[in-house]
């Protein structure tokens, strides 16, 4: 008779479960965005480190950003973060507490639209802020 602890070691195999259904594939794509967000934060952290080392070091970081490999990485990252943003606002009616305006619950569509609108406005502001500093 096998030892009892061997009996409850069985785990149902779950190899490739997320590839069998397109819904789970999109779910996994959203979850994968976290790897790109972590990597991007590390790129910025590296830039901050190079900034603390002086002008030559920081210019080296800027030069590294202009390599084809870096551009490709940031292209994929931008799309992954964009997909994360889209899903983030899409579930906002479920993740936010109910919002009441004039005694009525704010409709789901209005919550999603406000989130997307806020993102567009803040992104435009960020762009203008960077653009205004050109020499």
């Amino acid at each position: 008779m096998p030892a009892p602890n061997l009996l409850n070691r069985y785990t149902r195999p779950m190899e490739g479960w997320w590839r069998r259904n397109p819904f789970y594939l999109w779910y996994m794509l959203r979850e994968a965005s976290c790897v790109f967000i972590i990597a991007y934060a590390l790129v910025l952290l590296c830039g901050l480190y190079r900034l603390s080392q002086g002008e030559a070091a920081f210019n080296g970081w800027l030069a590294a950003l202009a390599t084809p490999r870096s551009i490709a990485f940031h292209g994929i990252t931008a799309m992954m973060v964009l997909y994360h943003a889209w899903t983030w606002f899409k579930v906002m009616p479920k993740t936010l507490p109910f919002i009441h305006i004039g005694g009525k619950r704010m409709p789901d569509a209005a919550i999603v639209t406000s989130g997307l609108a806020a993102a567009v406005v803040l992104s435009a502001l960020l762009f203008v802020l960077v653009w205004s500093g050109r020499s």
Binding site: E31, Y40, A85, A118
Partner: protein, 119 residues
């Protein structure tokens, strides 16, 4: 004494990071990783040394840099930790500590660098 769960702390950091990255993340990646390096829509010198140093010297700029780096890390690491389960990995306390510790270490490094850069 009742032991309180630390889950709300990490879920709040996940939520805050998710919100910041959803609001400005795509534009930030586009600006620093594509537009400025290529000189596309924005000039090459938009992220030049003196300007970034001025940003890092400014208290509001320091706060913005620390918030972006720290919250992106906490958001990403928390999601990564929960993703392990989807791949059939039985998470342990050590894995949780490693994920959140990574984000905490990145935050500490960012704060240290911002202090070293000075005011």
């Amino acid at each position: 004494m009742i032991r309180r769960s630390n889950k709300p702390v990490f879920w709040s950091l996940f939520g805050a990071g998710g919100m910041v990255s959803a609001l400005i993340g795509p534009m930030l990646v586009f600006v620093t990783g594509i537009a400025v390096p290529l000189g596309f829509l924005l000039p090459h010198d938009a992220l030049r040394y003196e300007r970034m140093l001025a940003l890092a010297h400014n208290p509001a700029g320091k706060l913005a840099l620390a918030v972006v780096i720290s919250l992106f890390l906490f958001h990403g690491c928390h999601r990564f930790y929960h993703c392990l389960h989807d791949f059939g990995i039985h998470v342990t306390a050590g894995m949780k500590a490693a994920c959140h510790g990574f984000a905490a270490a990145g935050t500490a490094l960012a704060v240290y660098l911002l202090l070293v850069i000075g005011f």
